[in-house]
Symmetry: C2
Subunit: 199 residues, 2 copies
């Protein structure tokens, strides 16, 4: 029944992350039957975003300008650089509003399984930024997974060798805010115990 442009549309939607055939059909039908013209608007926004997306030559994030908005912001110094795996992580930290330094997007994590080595990440770009001498602290805001932690280890080795005066820190491990102890894994609980803080 699905013909020509409809079938093409469903196929292209179904390969997006988190979606399958059924949800793709639902979305396609919603767009096709929407009276407010959501489909044309979405098509235009996609073209616009696709045409304006740029990779920041300093921090490697996506933005509509190069250097990106954060790297151009004079209020955000290079004194503290927060290293993240991907743009999604940068967006997540920016949403909290808790960080006012600058970022460096690695573009992934080291992974022996997926064949991602140091040359696939923008480690050289980070080291070059650090050689400027402005940076006092690097926060390794990487996932608490095996890949994340081994990447953090490699990075901190690199940084200590090249610039031993730079402080290296990582995100605190512990109980998530709002998390119930009963539902947490043993590793998190024992880490939270070891890193307990005075009240």
């Amino acid at each position: 029944m699905l013909d020509g442009p409809f079938e093409k549309l469903v196929k292209q939607i179904s390969v997006l992350p988190g979606l399958g055939g059924r949800s793709a059909r639902r979305i396609a039908l919603h767009l096709l039957t929407d009276k407010t013209g959501a489909m044309k608007t979405l098509a235009a926004t996609l073209s616009e975003a696709s045409a304006s997306v740029k990779t920041c030559s300093i921090c490697n994030t996506l933005d509509i300008s190069d250097p990106c908005k954060i790297c151009r912001d004079p209020a955000r110094s290079e004194e503290v650089i927060c290293v993240v795996a991907g743009v999604a992580d940068l967006w997540a930290i920016e949403r909290t509003g808790a960080f006012r330094g600058s970022y460096h997007v690695l573009g992934g994590l080291l992974s022996a399984l997926d064949g991602i080595g140091p040359d696939d990440l923008s480690i050289a770009g980070l080291m070059q930024r650090l050689s400027g001498g402005q940076t006092k602290e690097v926060i390794l805001a990487l996932s608490a997974t095996v890949d994340g932690q081994s990447t953090a280890h490699v990075l901190s080795d690199h940084i200590t060798q090249a610039a031993p005066e730079i402080k290296i820190s990582r995100l605190a491990h512990g109980v998530p805010v709002g998390g119930e102890l009963d539902y947490l894994d043993d590793g998190t609980i024992s880490t939270a115990l070891k890193s307990r803080a005075a009240v």
Copy 2:
């Protein structure tokens, strides 16, 4: 952090059925970072589908032509008309390949709660098709919900009054193929018992 076209893109994706803010950001980032140009292709497909979508003047389905491919197919007679609530249901039945008659899409179900009355559905269109005299059977392939069943009731009243010679049938109720009895609700089990078939 999300600026201009990016924020617009995430917002427009997040209102699609089944998606929220987090999945919309994931999809937007996937599209933005995709090297194969999936974004431009999707934008083009959306424009193309939006420009070519038509509502069939006979059966009320969506297609790229009017009358639709099924209504134009000489192999598919109007002897048996399958009445469905929406285009998604028509697609679902077409995927099975088990039905070779024609369809009529109501465009919804009667619902007192949602304020959908008989005039909001294409019941008049169906009655007009039936008045042609070609139709011998109408299959009411509506959901086994309160709204679906009350719509089926109203439709069968209408049809019996206008053309008492037309046979009216509904989909069989029972245990879904592959369904485990243990996980089925009581209503389905008792219906399946009542409509049990000889082996």
